[in-house]
Each structure stands twice: as C-alpha cells, then as structure tokens.
C-alpha cells in the first residue's frame, strides 16, 4: 500500500501482484485454518446466514420484475407461455449470480473489510503477531473461506426465490398457466445453464471475498483508512464482478 514513489501504472501492477501474493498466502494457510472449524462456521454464519434476508428479498423483487418485463415482451409475440423460460434463464445465468455478488459486496464484504481494518487499527493484528499467532491463518483465511462458500449458496437461493417471484407475477397476476410456466422452463433450461450460473457465483465468491479481506488487511490503520478501505471494497468488487461476468459469459458463449 505504501507505494509512495511508484508511478500510476506501476502502482496498479504492484497492487494486482500484491492481491495475488495475498491470495497465495491465504490458500497456503487454509488447510491449517480448517483445523479449527468453529472459526469457519462463525464466518459462514456472518457472511451467509446474515445476508439471507436481503438476498431473498432482492431475489423476489428481481424475479417479479423479470416476470413483468418478460411477459410484456413475449406477449407481443403471442408466446407469453414462455415467460418462465425468460425468468429462469435471466436469473440462473445472469441476475442470480451478479445481483447476489453485488449485494454480497455491500452487505458482507464491507463488514469483513471494516472488521479486519479495525482490528488492524486497534493493533489487534500486531498483538497476534507478538504472540506468534498468524493473523492470516486465524483472522483472514476463515473469513475468506466463509465468504467463498456462502456466495454460491446465496446465489442459488436468490434464483429459486426469483423463480417463485416470477411465478407470482406471471401466473397469479397475468394469468399464464402455471403448468406452462414450469414445464416450458424445465424443457428449455439445460444443466449447462445452471452450471454456468454456479461457476459464475463461485468466481464472484472468490473475487468478492478476496477483495474484502485484502482491503481490510492492508487498510491504513486509522479511522479514515478503514473508511476508505471499506469504500474501495464495494467499488473494486462491484467492478470486478461485472468484468468477470462479461469474461465468463463470453467463455461459456463461445463454447456452445
């Protein structure tokens, strides 16, 4: 962080490198940190279970919007029956993983960054090192792994709630037959489509958790520094999520 004299491009490259090195450090300590599963459990709870309400609520509304918009579009072609397909593919392949990751960055990523940053600002991390306790192993690795595990699960739940949100609009409100809604969806969605969404959410989980713990661990140890780091977490992870989303969509697209 304290690059000081580096020019902007060099500083950018150095930052990317620093994140990579940090990821290597975390990965090397993950087997050791699994020796104390209660740390990991607490972090899955923090990152996952406590984000559940906001993720499910957003899923419901996104599904309802997809139901309305899909119905509006498909109605013009006389194929409103296919609205289930539009909702399912939209959720599974794009909106489920992406919106969940953005919410995750705002809800869980910020709390990870500010927690670790505050530990640093109050010299808790230094104190750990004094006692020969590795802070990466005990503080960073469980938080990283917790977020990494939680995000794909949250994205799956987001998609399912969204499917029912779409049904709420399309079937209950717009009068699409519920059998047609689900059976057209089941006939059009392939395992590929589901796995594309799952891979995306895994990649987003890695990116969001890594950015959050990196920013926290390398925050300037002041109140202002923690605030800046938290803001940066949201900005960097959001941009990164959208960038990775494009890359993965392109990768899955050319394969077909």
């Amino acid at each position: 962080m304290s690059a000081g004299v580096d020019s902007i491009p060099v500083a950018a490259i150095r930052r990317v490198g620093a994140v990579g090195v940090f990821l290597g450090q975390i990965l090397a300590r993950i087997p050791a940190s699994l020796g104390k599963p209660s740390l990991l459990i607490a972090q899955i709870y923090n990152a996952g279970a406590r984000s559940l309400v906001i993720v499910m609520m957003s899923g419901l509304f996104v599904g309802m919007v997809l139901g309305l918009q899909g119905f509006n579009l498909l109605q013009r072609f006389g194929s409103a029956d296919q609205v289930g397909v539009a909702v399912a593919l939209g959720l599974l392949k794009e909106l489920g993983p992406v919106v969940t990751a953005l919410l995750f960055a705002g809800r869980a990523g910020t709390s990870l960054t500010s927690e670790i940053g505050l530990m640093k600002a109050t010299d808790q991390l230094t104190a750990m090192q004094m006692m020969a306790v590795d802070p990466v192993r005990y503080v960073v690795a469980p938080r990283f792994l917790g977020g990494f595990i939680a995000l794909p699960l949250l994205a799956a739940m987001f998609s399912i709630v969204g499917l029912y949100g779409g049904q709420l609009i399309a079937v209950a409100q717009m009068g699409v037959d519920s059998g047609a809604y689900w059976s057209n969806m089941q006939n059009a969605v392939a395992l590929r489509d589901v796995s594309e969404g799952v891979w995306k959410s895994v990649a987003f989980g890695l990116a969001c958790s890594l950015v959050a713990v990196y920013e926290g661990f390398h925050a300037a140890p002041t109140a202002e520094g923690v605030g800046l780091a938290t803001t940066r977490t949201v900005v960097v992870s959001s941009v990164l999520v959208l960038l990775i989303d494009f890359l993965l969509t392109a990768a899955f697209f050319t394969n077909s």
Partner: protein, 179 residues
C-alpha cells in the same frame, strides 16, 4: 456455549438450505430423471394421437378455452406407434361426455401446444382411466407448407390432376405467415 450452539444451528441451516437450493436448480429445472412429479388430484384420462407436435408434460388441457387439467405423461405405444398421452383432469370437471374429442392446438403462432377438448353429446361421462377415442393430431407447420407447395405445383399448369391434399388449412397458413 449457548450462543455457539445457536450459531452452529444457524450456519447448518443456511448451508443445508443452500445446498438444497443448488440441488433443486440442478435436478428439478433441467430435463432430469430425478424430477419430482406434481401431486395427483383429479382423474386420469388417456388419449392416443398420431402426432403430438411439441406437446409437453405439464401442458394445459382446456375445455372451451378454460383450463381443466394438464398433460401428465407422454409415452409411445410400441405396437401402434401412436403417442399415448395421459391427461389429468381436475376433479371438479367430472362430467365430461365420454365421446368428447381431443385435439392438439397451438396458443398463438409461436406459443406452446395444448389439448383442447370438444364435448360430445353422450349421456355417460369420462371416468378415471377412461380413453378419449376421437383425437386430432397437432398441425405441423412444415407439413402444411409442404402440402401447400405440392398443391400449388400440381395445380400449376394443368388444373385437372390437382387432388387438393389439404385445401382448407392451406390459405390459413398463408395468412398467418404474412403477419
């Protein structure tokens, strides 16, 4: 200790729920053999069709345009090479004449297929496991276009040997195509 316990239960619930969601997405949405069939209320009726087009399990069954049930199963009869379609009709519509006629229809030009029932005049009603004898296959658009072209080709120069394979539906198709 107590807070630790509730935290572990919460995490466990979250992880189980997450994996249940993943399992639902991977097995119930794609055409998988693990798919759970819906509950069975109502009664079953069988109908054999020559060609069902792209009728699917779950497609609606209607009477006078009102949905009265859905397609529960589609199988092929290995002797007659017809499609055996199982319809599940809601119990409240129990008085459908047993000489009713089932035809496969399309919702809109691009819409999905559904089965439309036209009631007959019989005094006896369809029962659970009963069979609809009068069926009409799906209109396959490609076949209609083929017939139309065959018709035009044969009618072209000499009028007398055009035996008019399907004179009535053909103009309807042309109309639809122009839209």
């Amino acid at each position: 200790m107590q807070s630790n316990r509730s935290l572990e239960i919460g995490t466990g619930l979250f992880v189980l729920l997450g994996f249940a969601a993943l399992a639902f997405l991977t097995t119930q949405l794609p055409g998988s053999s693990l798919r759970i069939k819906g509950g069975d209320s109502g009664y079953k009726v069988l109908a054999a069709f020559d060609n069902i087009g792209d009728l699917k399990e779950g497609s609606p069954v209607t009477l006078a345009g009102v949905r009265i049930g859905r397609v529960e199963g589609i199988a092929i009869d290995s002797r007659t090479f017809k499609a055996d379609v199982t319809l599940r009709i809601d119990r409240q519509y129990s008085e459908i004449p047993d000489d009713s006629d089932a035809s496969i229809q399309t919702a809109g030009l691009l819409g999905g297929k559904y089965i439309g029932l036209t009631p007959g005049g019989s005094e006896t009603f369809l029962k659970d496991g009963g069979q609809i004898e009068l069926t009409q296959s799906a209109l396959v658009l490609e076949n209609l276009i083929n017939k139309l072209f065959a018709n035009i080709a044969s009618k072209g120069p000499d009028q007398q040997n055009g035996q008019a394979a399907a004179p009535t539906p053909a103009p309807a198709v042309v109309d639809k195509e122009k839209k």
